[in-house]
Amino acid sequence: MTSETLLTLIFAYFALASVVFAVLVIMLRNPVQCALSLVGVVFHLAGIFILLRAEFLAAAHIIIYAGAIIVLFLFTMMLLNIGAVERVRQFHVQAPLAIVIGAILFLEFIVLTGATITIGAQGPHSPAWVAGQGGNVQALGQVLFRDYLLPFEVASVLLTAAVVGAIVLARQRPRRPRSSSEMGVSEWMAERYEKANVRSSNRPNSAEEIGD
């Protein structure tokens, strides 16, 4: 067996597995299983990136998507405590629209693999330039920490500001309202639920809980 066929076989495995997991993400009924299937998609896509010699992208893909974002999904599900009620088949309303958009996207991929369309200028970082730097990790490092050093650092200030902001908003405990116009959101929601006569047996998050 030549290395060429071996590579093709490996690619076929990654491609097929990622498609299967992607289908599972939208077909499974348990949200936790959906999220875990998404992890499968991400891992197998990372494998394809490695075959394409985009090693950095593969590593970043796994760290960011599998490591951070999907863990965040799982945390959210855990905190929301999605019960048996929510385990119905979802997305059936927008299915026709999804099929149309998916078909358009599929056609676009077919067109793009066949033809080269150029309506603009090429950037300075050509494949030859990347090879000259000794690989895409080196090239990325050169660009990120030399040309784009300032934006890189500013992004860290931006993230700090966002974290401070999130903590400021999350830490505050609503006080007793002084007047109805100053009523807190949670009290307001609780009142709305009472007015709407929502029975606490129907809603697990009853007015008392929301009212804190």
Binding site: Y148, L150, V154, A155, V157, L158, A161, V164, I167, V168
Partner: protein, 491 residues
């Protein structure tokens, strides 16, 4: 990167360090350190202003063209740091109700974003500046979380703002894909060599302009403004109007001066249309407002319109050096004047709010007798916002009118004058309520506060000084622009 590059962002570094220090001191020291923290911020801001003027780098680019170090950047650095310091002083008056340290740190972070917007030479820096300005401001609007209006305004602002940031980024992506660069000067060079008739350019450009028009609250992208301005605690509103909005304006002017030259035939009608719509909608809808904060929100939309007139002229006359210089200087001068009078007006509104816990026109009744100094200051700000001499707002509008007439856009100048006349109705109604409506029992004076008094005094003195002697600021703005002009021709 050379070590000299660091001097070009020294003010930003100082502000970031102060913000970090404020957060750390508050974490260990708690509430009793707040007075000292305010002192630190004021002193630090003065140092940052001095550094940006005295230790400024030579006119040129730094960090591979990411930021520019010209006089224009220095001009806006001084303005924005001053606005931030005044907003924090104003916020100190409510330090019992809100987490003052975090609020100050967020204002300082947003100010770093504004400084980058004034200095941007690249679409990446522009985007990061816009985001670094917006995200802390969303939080500033919602910082009193138990107020329903604040949460409502903040949510609207956040959702629409996030969408606008997405549109802005999409436009940047298009321009990058088409020109292969995000550098403003290089984009202009590329388009000049290739011709501007590619429709895809227009798509990217349109998305970019829509994103920025949202951030400066121009019609029809102004929907969030009244709710966010009214719902936010008044010091946050002051920073939102005088700070975040002027930051986006500085970025927009930068993009127009450097990057958009080749597109003038196509973009000019759009900018003029947005400017005229902002002037008309802002001024006419303001007539119906009973709440002074909401009234000032619509007035800020109208003032965006006035400044966009100047920006449109900059855009149309990039070859005619003298007119372009006058137009840029007029917009820069207007930004200073608008920041001073808006900060002052919101400071008085804040003082009144502390008296009767409301900002309706009725809450201003009797102010002329109970707190004469505050009432005089508010009258000056209202007269300035209307554009009546001797307040600075008059000269701000006069310069814009001059460039509009010189540029042959007489009908736009007529719209500007007519809508300003309309604005006299609602601005002067505030004055009427302060002096000519007598109610029994008479209200008490507004609670004394050194912090609010200081901001009102600085705003009033600034408004009057610039109204009597505007030449100094205008000459500085023109000199600042001369350096920009040099850069634009030899990137």
């Amino acid at each position: 990167m050379q070590i000299e590059d660091l001097t070009s962002i020294l003010p930003e570094i100082i502000l970031t360090l102060i913000a970090a220090a404020v957060l750390m001191v508050d974490a260990f020291g708690g509430r009793r350190t707040h007075r000292g923290l305010m002192g630190l911020i004021v002193v630090g801001s003065v140092v940052a202003i001095l550094v940006s003027v005295v230790l400024r780098a030579d006119s040129g680019t730094a960090f591979s063209g990411m930021v520019l170090t010209d006089g224009y950047a220095v001009f806006f650095k001084v303005l924005f740091i001053a606005i931030a310091a005044l907003s924090i002083v104003l916020a100190f008056a409510q330090s019992q109700d809100v987490p003052f340290a975090e609020l100050s740190a967020l204002i300082l972070f947003a100010t770093v974003g504004m400084l980058l917007l004034g200095a941007t030479g690249d679409l990446i820096t522009l985007y990061l500046g816009v985001e670094l300005t917006s995200i802390p401001v969303y939080v500033l609007v919602a910082i009193k979380r138990d107020r329903f209006r604040a949460t409502e305004g903040a949510l609207k602002y956040f959702l629409l703002g996030a969408f606008a940031s997405g549109v802005l980024l999409y436009g940047i992506a298009w321009l990058f894909g088409l020109t292969g660069t995000t550098n403003l000067a290089n984009i202009a060079l590329y388009v000049q060599s290739q011709g501007a008739d590619n429709p895809w350019f227009l798509l990217g450009l349109g998305l970019l302009l829509v994103g920025l028009a949202f951030k400066v609250a121009a019609v029809p992208f102004h929907m969030w403004t009244p709710d966010a301005y009214q719902g936010a605690p008044t010091p946050s509103t002051a920073f939102l109007a005088a700070g975040a909005k002027m930051g986006a304006m500085a970025g927009l002017l930068r993009v127009v001066v450097h990057g958009l030259e080749p597109w003038q035939d196509m973009v000019l009608p759009i900018v003029i249309a947005i400017a005229v719509a902002s002037m008309i909608v802002g001024n006419f809808v303001a007539i119906w407002q009973r709440d002074v904060k909401r009234l000032l929100a619509y007035s800020s939309i109208a003032h965006t319109g006035y400044m966009l007139v100047g920006i449109a002229i900059v855009h149309a006359h990039s070859e005619a050096g003298g007119l372009m210089r006058d137009a840029v200087a007029a917009v820069m001068f207007y930004a200073v004047v608008y920041a001073l009078m808006t900060l002052g007006a919101f400071a008085v509104t804040f003082a009144v709010e502390r008296r009767t816990d409301g900002t309706d026109l009725e809450n201003f009744q009797n102010l002329g007798r109970s707190s004469p100094l505050m009432a005089v200051a508010m009258a000056v700000f209202m007269i300035s916002l209307t554009g009546i001499p001797p307040a600075a707002g008059f000269f701000g509008k006069l310069y814009l009118l001059q460039v509009a007439v010189n540029a042959g856009l007489t009908w736009v100048a007529v719209v500007l004058v007519l809508t300003s006349t309309v604005s006299a109705y609602y601005y002067l109604r505030v004055v009427v309520n302060m002096y000519m409506v007598d109610i029994q029992p008479r209200l008490l004076p507004v609670p004394a506060s050194t912090a609010i008094g200081a901001v009102v005094a600085i705003g009033m003195i600034g408004t009057l000084v610039l109204g009597i002697y505007p030449a100094g600021a205008v000459e500085w703005a023109q000199a600042a622009f001369e350096e920009v002009g040099k850069l634009a021709t030899s990137p």
